[in-house]
Symmetry: C2
Subunit: 466 residues, 2 copies
């Protein structure tokens, strides 16, 4: 274990309370934007908001503009450069007009910006080093009336602005940095972790970073919080926080059980042994080919990799597709007796379903159980089908059933992966299309070819940590 | 498939009814003792009964003698040479005196006989080519009062003698010969099939051989018969026939589900295609070494054999011990990931637990799931136990749990079979003692060494039939 590892994992001796506060002070210092940064951001934001307001009211009576996101709530981490400007239009407007006005206001605000598409089209641009989004939405009475997810954002900002004082805002920064450090920050579908809004709600709810960690250390999922005590639905998620602005929504819906457990693990670990390393995202050293060979030899498993061109999708679409394909392929292997030991998926131009097998070969025969002999019709049909089949053994009787031993379709995992049957396992639709254009199966030592592209992913796989 | 096989298995075309009666006439002819045999048997039996009666009443007032078994009920198969003479003593007698008198009467009846031990000691001998047993028992009012199983026998004989006319007795002979032919006759614990008494009751109950077969073809186990309609207990057996002389006893208790299914299979097969081959016990050709090699290659499984000196036990004790050991060993292998494909046991001086494996090797690591992370005490203990273990991977988090990958105890089935852990699987007690004195593990091609002793058993295993 390297010293850096020990730094992340190991308990340290010392005065816990003083250590903890010292670590937090150090991290707080790093993540709090200084006065210069705040001023510059304020100036740029104000200027753009004014510009957007003029352009909006020019086109539509009753339009208004507000800043949302962490830079609006004083919860951004020093160095973050995102300014989100929302342009609200009256709900009477039809969607088409809203989009037209929205883009016009965006271009007026960011003359050098370009259009992107999320729920609505919007304009994105860079101004003095800041990343600016100008996003149109409807101005509604309450978040329960929203027509698309962006309409909800102003309600979130409003709710939190009322509750986050400077001290809590500081603790939000600590918490975000901690979640980033342990790899669970972000509600994108690759990470499936904690969103910014979720993080801020948790800090509000528990009253700070340290009380949140202390609570999380003792969580027994499902953990259910309902700050406004207005929830009307039940959820089957490990972490449930009813949106204060929408009683039917779980803010933590995307957060996976593993990420909740990870947060819990590191919360305990930090409280037991406070250290600033946990606030720094790990930069995994890529695995070398020699290290990969060592792992394979030591483990004695059979690695197989299905490699193909990654479908041309944004990450939020790509990763669910890859996971679905991974599930299908591992199920297909398991069902045919090729026991999967562990598996993962990787993407970077190429996409890979990587499966480590405990069993990669099976005998030439497989057991095939027939019906109980007493079920006369079926039993007779089964017996008749196999009695004169020179390819199969039996039928013989075990307990009350006919059993035959017949030829197996696939005796190696590789045969299966290279066959058309791979397309029956329930791949993601885009992955299926891509595989139809061709793919490659690497087996055993051949997987070392992945090192060049996926050294870091293979390190994470072969040197796994909480 | 050889012509002989086709003879046993195949359906034949033709006039079913006429064929069936012709086959039965042919078999009936073969199994019915002729007049000379009957006379000779009657003479020998009468002479010995007289001798036994004199010796019994000489020693004990109220003793009497009767002939039991198939030769007493006119249901023996031509050539059978068993005469069973039971000497009944009054129930007031204590057991010790009964045994003393019983042996004395036995020796008086069979001067050249020798003692054997079943429920009581008894005398066995040969007279003019007949095998004679002289067995003492208590004369009781009803079979429910019995003190040992032999006390029941006279009741069985009495019950059947009242019901079996010549025609039914002839059908009993057919049925016994059929059950012998298909390998399910005998209630010994090696066969676990149909006893003579059970066979006779079934023929009485259904009214003959053919109606029994027609009924059996449609059985849906559990099949429950209670000829005297007096049953007081329920049984968890596939075939239940309440003893007409004992409402608490299932006459078919020992009959395995597989043997019930086999009888059903061959009943259907015979009715569909009557043929006398089914009345001839199969004499399996021993497998040759070349054939064994061919099977192993075609199947691609890994055979392993644990060979040891058969414990010195009668078959009724030996086979349950071997089966228990077989169950334990296959469970032990399965639990360690060495998937058992099929297995059997053989005994002939040597005893063998023969296991065919679908998986005989496993990787160097095994997955070890810890508790859910939220179960703080256990989770902490688990994490602490493995976090600094250089021999194991992880702990990492999957779903809500810690998981490690640790070194496997056994990576080959052979290592396990040759280790002390073999003694933890629940072997039969006598087998365990024998293995402590040493045993041999044969793997792969090495099992061809079994051919010399177990050619027939290996033929039955590798060319399995209903």
């Amino acid at each position: 274990m390297s010293e850096e590892d020990a730094d992340r994992d190991g308990p340290e001796d010392g005065d816990g309370d003083r250590d903890l506060e010292a670590v937090l002070a150090e991290v707080r210092d790093r993540v709090t934007p200084d006065e210069a940064e705040r001023t510059r951001l304020r100036e740029v934001a104000d200027r753009l908001i004014d510009r957007a307001e003029a352009a909006a009211t020019d086109r539509c009576d009753g339009a208004d503009v507000l800043q949302v996101g962490s830079t609006a709530r004083n919860t951004w981490i020093a160095g973050d450069r995102d300014i989100d400007i929302f342009v609200r239009f009256p709900p009477e407007l039809d969607r088409e007009t809203l989009e037209e006005y929205g883009l016009a206001v965006g271009h007026a605000t960011l003359p050098s910006g370009h259009e992107e598409y999320a729920e609505h089209p919007y304009v994105k641009g860079e101004v003095e080093g800041f990343d600016i989004d100008v996003v149109p939405c409807f101005r509604l009475e309450s978040a329960t009336e929203i027509r698309s997810a962006v309409d909800r954002t102003p309600f979130h900002t409003q709710y939190l602005q009322q509750r986050l004082d400077d001290e809590l805002a500081g603790d939000v920064r600590l918490t975000k940095q901690f979640l980033k450090g342990i790899g669970v920050y972000g509600s994108d579908l690759r990470t499936r972790g904690f969103s910014g809004y979720l993080t801020e709600l948790l800090v509000c709810e528990y009253g700070g970073f340290r009380p949140l960690l202390e609570a999380a250390a003792d969580w027994r999922p499902p953990v259910e919080l309902d700050p406004e005590d207005h929830g009307t639905k039940t959820f089957d998620d490990p972490l449930v926080i009813i949106d204060p602005t929408d009683p039917e929504r779980n803010v933590a819906a995307v957060c996976s059980a593993a990420n909740v457990a990870r947060f819990q693990h590191y919360a305990r670990s930090f409280l037991e042994s406070p250290r600033s390393a946990l606030f720094e995202p790990e930069t995994a050293e890529p695995l070398t080919e020699a290290e990969l060979r060592d792992h394979l030899e030591r483990r004695g498993t059979t690695p197989v990799a299905v490699r193909f061109d990654a479908p041309d999708l944004v990450e939020d679409q790509l990763y669910p597709q890859l996971r679905k394909s991974l599930d299908g392929i591992t199920r297909g292997l398991d069902e045919r007796g090729f026991d999967v030991f562990r598996a993962t998926t990787m993407a970077d131009g190429d996409a890979v379903v990587f499966v480590e097998l405990a069993v990669s070969e099976r005998p030439g025969v497989e057991r095939h159980e027939g019906p109980p002999v007493h079920v006369r019709d079926h039993a007779g049909g089964f017996y008749g089908a196999y009695a004169d089949d020179p390819q199969s053994y039996g039928p013989f009787i075990e307990d009350d059933r006919y059993v035959t031993e017949r030829e197996r379709e696939f005796t190696t995992a590789c045969e299966f992966l290279e066959s058309d049957r791979l397309f029956d396992v329930g791949l993601g639709a885009h992955v299926e299309t891509t595989l139809e254009d061709g793919y490659e199966v690497l087996v055993g030592k051949e997987v070392t070819a992945l090192i060049a592209t996926f050294g870091a992913e293979l390190a994470a796989y072969f040197e796994p940590r909480p």
